[in-house]
Symmetry: C2
Subunit: 171 residues, 2 copies
């Protein structure tokens, strides 16, 4: 039931459907539109829910190569590859255009923050000088998202450059 609704939304987003409404979602999910109207305030609320769920269940393991530079580079490449997938990009757009209050407490950024913390902690235990976690989020994650949203190039070379930049800050 709930999973049918989620996959219905997921498919529609994946297809780039422009008309994502409760009746459309309901028909594909094999449920009655009334159910959706009663459970969610509006389509955006449901979209947010699905987007957050899709963007957080990553299962990616945090790189652990022995050097922060390599860890961050691998990490940035993974994220770059992930968010440039059309479906993910659309989810991102959906989240951005959604209401502010929910986005502010979004688990997506929390996941990134935790991953960054882990890599930084390991590096410090090895005695490396590291940038701060906020610096990593500001100067790696933010530019990646920015490039995706504005349809600029996001490739491995770009990911590498961002990592070099952020490490250059603390040298």
């Amino acid at each position: 039931m709930l999973t049918a609704i989620y996959t219905s939304v997921g498919e529609l987003v994946g297809e780039g459907a422009d008309k994502i409404t409760f009746p459309v979602i309901a028909e594909r999910a094999g449920v009655n539109p009334t159910t959706l109207y009663r459970r969610w305030d509006d389509v955006n609320a449901l979209l947010e829910e699905v987007a957050v769920a899709a963007l957080t269940r990553d299962g990616e393991s945090v790189p652990n190569t022995g050097s922060l530079e390599q860890d961050l580079t691998e990490w940035a490449k993974i994220i770059a590859r992930d968010i440039t997938r059309p479906k993910r990009a659309r989810y991102l757009r959906a989240m951005v255009s959604a209401r502010v209050e929910i986005v502010s407490s979004c688990p997506v950024t929390e996941t990134r923050r935790e991953q960054a913390s882990k890599m930084v902690r390991r590096a410090r235990e090895r005695g490396e000088t590291t940038p701060t976690v906020p610096q990593i989020l500001d100067h790696i994650i933010a530019p990646l998202y920015h490039h995706v949203v504005f349809a600029l190039q996001v490739d491995h070379e770009y990911a590498r450059r961002l990592v070099r930049d952020v490490l250059a800050m603390v040298r």
Copy 2:
């Protein structure tokens, strides 16, 4: 006529109206909905047009204080103050949720790029070592937007920190 439509859209966006449709826009602008249906393909197209117009007519002058650090700091503060205004933030969201093709050729980022170029050029003529223009966009503009979109704090201290970070890259 056209200005009435633009201001109508501007007001609706400013008020945070959730349902921005052609009939609603038309009524406030004092025109017939048919006109809008005929001139624009859909509401998003019109929204984009207005958003781009609103976000590009800045009239801000590029800071010229004699040092790149101060120039960038002033610049970042201006942008921070600008994009945190609720109306601008909504315009940003509207643009992001719009179609990809148009966003990619968005004049907004071009304006920022030109402003950054000007400050960098002046600094180099003074003999300063400077970051590149892409670095400035990636590590000042992108984090600012990122913070706005995810409803994180964007204040003067944050702007200062970003500038310090980007300058630390080239020292």
